[in-house]
Every structure is written in C-alpha cells, then in structure tokens.
Symmetry: C2
Amino acid sequence: MPEIKFCNVCGGQIHYQQPEGDNADRAVCSQCGHIHYENPKIVNACIIEHEGKILLGKRTIPPREGFWNVPAGFMENGESTRAGARREVREEVCAEIADMQLFGVYNIIQRNQVHVYFRGHLKGTHYAAGAETSEVKLFAPDEIPWEQIAFPVGITAMKRYVEEMKSGEFTIIEDDIIIDYEMLKKFS
Amino acid sequence: MPEIKFCNVCGGQIHYQQPEGDNADRAVCSQCGHIHYENPKIVNACIIEHEGKILLGKRTIPPREGFWNVPAGFMENGESTRAGARREVREEVCAEIADMQLFGVYNIIQRNQVHVYFRGHLKGTHYAAGAETSEVKLFAPDEIPWEQIAFPVGITAMKRYVEEMKSGEFTIIEDDIIIDYEMLKKFS
C-alpha cells in the first residue's frame, strides 16, 4: 500500500504527526484535520479435505505466480470471515465447503495482515480452476509439494492440519507467522 | 469512515466504478488509476478473570460513553492480535494478562469489523482506570450489569465466558454479531 500523501476526504496535503492524546504518528490532513488510520487487513482461507486429500489451486497472478495455494484472499466489507473464505473458495477453486470450522488466527506482522483460517470438507465432488488459478488438484498429505506452496502461512497451517488429521482431533490456535525474506528470495 | 472523494496517492478525484476483472464497485482515481480497497477492521479484546470475577472498564468517550466495556480497541499496524489486546488492556485498565488464550472471532458485518477475543487471568493484582476509562471494577458473574455493557459483542462474548467458566471447559468459536439498532436506541 503506497504512503498516504493526500486526504481522501478533502484532497488536502497529509503530514505525518502525532495527534493530541495519541501515541503514534498518523496521517493527518493539513487542511481539514481528518486523521487517516492505517490498520491491518484480514485474509480469509479454508483448508478443504476430500477423501483424505487437500484441495489446492495453482496461482496465475503475482505474488508467487505458479505456486500452489490454500484458497485465500482479502476480506471485503459487508461479509463475515466465514463468508469471505467461502467466496474465495468459490472464486479460486469453484468449490463449496461442508462442515466448515474455525481452524486458526495467524498474525503476519511484517505484512500487517491477519489470516483467519477455516477447515472443511468438499461439498459434493465438484472443483475446477477459477479466476487467477490455472490448475486445481487434490493432494494426499505425503504428496503436498511443500517447496511449491505460495506462502509461509499456508505451509504452517497445512502442516498442523496434516498432523491433526491423523487423530481427527483438531485444535484452534492464534499464532505469529515470521516471514524469512532470505529464504523466500531463493524461490522467487 | 467518510466516503473516499480524493485519491490519497495523487490527490485526483475518485469515481466509484467496477475495475476490469473485479465484481464490485471500487474507489478508483480518475487521475492516476489507483484503486482504493476498503476492508474490515480488526478489534482485539480480552476478557480478564480474577478470583472468579471479570474486569471491566467504564468508558469516558463516545460511542457508549458511561457504559462498561471489556477492554478492546482497533488493531494497529505492526502488532499481532494478541499484542493488540495486551496493549488495549494496558491502556484502558492498566493491567497485565496471564495465561492468555484465543476465545473467539466475532464478525460484525454491519460495522465492517472483526473482533478477535482472548481470555486470560489478571497477572498480579494491579488494575486502574487508564486512558478513556473512568472506573475499573471486578464483577462476579451475577453482578455483571448486562444492560450497561457498551457493545453487543461484549455481551455475547461475556455470556459465553460466564457459562463456560462454570465447567472451566472453554471453547473457541467464530460467530456473527447482529446489532439491533432499535434496541440500541433505547439505551443511547
């Protein structure tokens, strides 16, 4: 997200300064005084299981074009986290989810993102490549191409899922994802 | 949040229109073409227990000035959901949290907010009225002033907490909060 330079209420020039009673610099309009707060964004995702396998889509857009991904995307105004995950699954892998449950909340501080993960089963048997997806495939746990998974959060969430699916006892956790930029450079 | 009228990158005029390949109207700059996405915001909160009682703070600022509230506030860039909840607890009720656990994800679609609730115990015995708080008090479950709680999400989360603390078996859920604007009018 580019730096804020102009006020989106009145078009005036922005200065970063600490408003009275605040404890951080904010984008404050020099003309109308409006304070533009910048906040983390939510990404909703769903790990979908079908007959012991996990449904992944291959990305056709940056970042991480050509890598496999758990269906996921930015939450929109006017929807719930659950509805957001359902929408992304429809858009990316043309599938519906049964038995949807919360699976985890992952903070990605380096990206100012919070990923809300769900888990569920494929409703029926239909899936297909949707928007921004070239290929959709079911992977058995030992077939998951870990080095070709698009994002660290997807790897972390799926590794826990694959471990917990052995017993069928699923947990719900909140955890931080630390992005290793050096490691990412090797792949991108 | 006011409607976007000017581009905060170049100061150009905004028109709401559907970008190619998108399925919703977005705030698009007529000058530089930048698309301003508007996304839900995250509020982090923590229900704090001490000797079977729950710690609440009385608000000194709108909305719902003078009402009791679970310590909560908007997540900032550069922090995790957990760190955000800790910060709000420090700011509002001058307390530290022990044994912090995820408690729930509550969608408030009417407000474009997602509230991430934690639960925990008071670390030590210290608490005090902080910023935007006039009074801090521990309430036994049967003393909680339900009609003087600031927000529906706080009521919903605390009712589940109070029920689950009987057995000590806490769940973690994702759920929607529906705001009854007519009911709120009676109190505000």
